[in-house]
Symmetry: C2
């Protein structure tokens, strides 16, 4: 499973082992849950981050059985959120869908449901942000009953128009503070937060409520705003610095590799897994 059998797996600061590595399913988008699970086992990757659409294709119970039988940890389920909508009926439907996502997370055996919080239904960002807060506060008791925590993932500000009104770690931290509930936290994704001049202080401020850490890289130039993210080491993010900040803040959980990249999706999945494992050891 590991390149170096002398590696101490229990030391989270050891950079040479894969014990904290998780495959976010988006990195091998063409793969089914079964293929991703088998790929992880084969490549010695101990955790997987699942996506709801993939889980639905395979079936919820079958997906849960596959990861359980393979001995994989499910680091998170992507994704809930998308609360804002133009009509009351739609907003209700979206809350209901989030309740189903919470149930699915519980069935899959993960503690973490990732929330993508947006976009606004109109041009009013402050109102949309207030509605996101209201929606999460409605869902928190239901999540707690199911043993699931909600992870607010601030997205990059370039997605504020079409994906998320929460676009900085500072804003996500303040939201967590206001909600003041043990079941809420943040997901720190390098791609979404690396630009932030407040990165150091906001990662520190997230200490105690970091529910996930995602990595990939920022390519220059960026080939596509959504599907142009890079393999670690191919871009300009100082990933090791960010990992150090996140660990200093107390996080020692899984590190998910989540890469939206069209070119990567055209490679054989096992090739992607080996490349990401190497780059994880070199760059993260």
């Amino acid at each position: 499973m590991h390149d170096d059998i002398f590696t101490n797996l229990s030391d989270p600061s050891d950079l040479s082992d894969l014990s904290r590595l998780s495959l976010n399913q988006m990195t091998t988008k063409p793969w089914s849950v079964r293929e991703a699970v088998e790929g992880c086992v084969c490549a010695g990757i101990p955790s997987i981050g699942l996506w709801r659409d993939k889980v639905a294709e395979t079936g919820l119970q079958e997906s849960a059985r596959l990861v359980r039988d393979a001995g994989l940890k499910v680091s998170s389920l992507c994704r809930g959120g998308w609360f804002c909508a133009a009509s009351a009926r739609e907003r209700q439907e979206r809350l209901d869908d989030n309740r189903r996502a919470i149930e699915e997370a519980a069935t899959l055996g993960t503690e973490t449901l990732v929330l993508v919080c947006g976009p606004a239904a109109d041009r009013d960002l402050p109102a949309a942000r207030a509605y996101v807060e209201e929606s999460i506060s409605i869902l928190l008791p239901y999540a707690q009953e199911h043993g699931v925590k909600l992870g607010i993932e601030p997205l990059h500000p370039m997605y504020v128009g079409d994906r998320s009104v929460i676009v900085s770690l500072g804003e996500a931290n303040r939201l967590v503070q206001r909600l003041a509930h043990p079941g809420i936290g943040v997901i720190i994704d390098a791609y979404h937060v690396w630009w932030d001049p407040e990165l150091e202080e906001q990662v520190a401020a997230a200490g105690g409520h970091i529910l996930g850490f995602h990595v990939c890289d920022w390519l220059v130039p960026t080939p596509d705003m959504l599907n142009g993210r890079g393999m670690m080491g191919d871009g300009v993010i100082d990933l090791r610095r960010l990992r150090r900040l996140v660990e200093t803040a107390g996080y020692s959980g899984p590190i998910e590799v989540e890469i939206f990249n069209q070119a990567l999706w055209e490679l054989p999945g096992m090739e992607v897994l080996h490349l990401m494992s190497e780059r994880y050891k070199q760059c993260v």
Copy 2:
């Protein structure tokens, strides 16, 4: 010059007149300085924001004469900055180039040189930000001697990898505070700051050192990360709210329309000027 002859031109809160409108030359990129100046006169636009490459094509003295003879106000010159470089020699060359930009601004009769502050020469954003601060502090006395102020324009975070390490208004404001010099301020461009959850408080904090206000719109989807900006009203930015915030902070200067958009550049320039004047009245 105005649609409504009863408009009170001296009232900055009056939304129906063009007295504060400025054409940033990038909006009519195919035009020379002469064409842009003639276009402004013809469309009743009283100010223009010039670009150094266009000024160089026409000649500095000739450009200065053209705007002066036309009675146009030069709202700003784009752009200085780009301080970071891998070698000491290159860094020196860039400082020298900024000194020339300051001289050009003075000759053109504008008080404002717009600074684009980046990108980093390597992966070290904190070091690049410190070097930007050092460079500006070196230039400030020279700018003051020439009667020119330096406007830090925070760019959208999606440009942190290739254009600017200053990517939020808060960071720009803190930089201005640390520099503590009457010749430094910020340029607020709607496209670059609209996503910010701290927009309201940071625009207020910029009060007293706002040197320019730029508008365009954010298109969903965005056709291109650099040249896919939208005409006001075609996107999702609440421009009127932002104008209100900027005016409440005390800014009553020119409002530059700066649109990087390939499709717009293919239209006849006068058509662009008429459209932007209409949209300015409707949406800004």
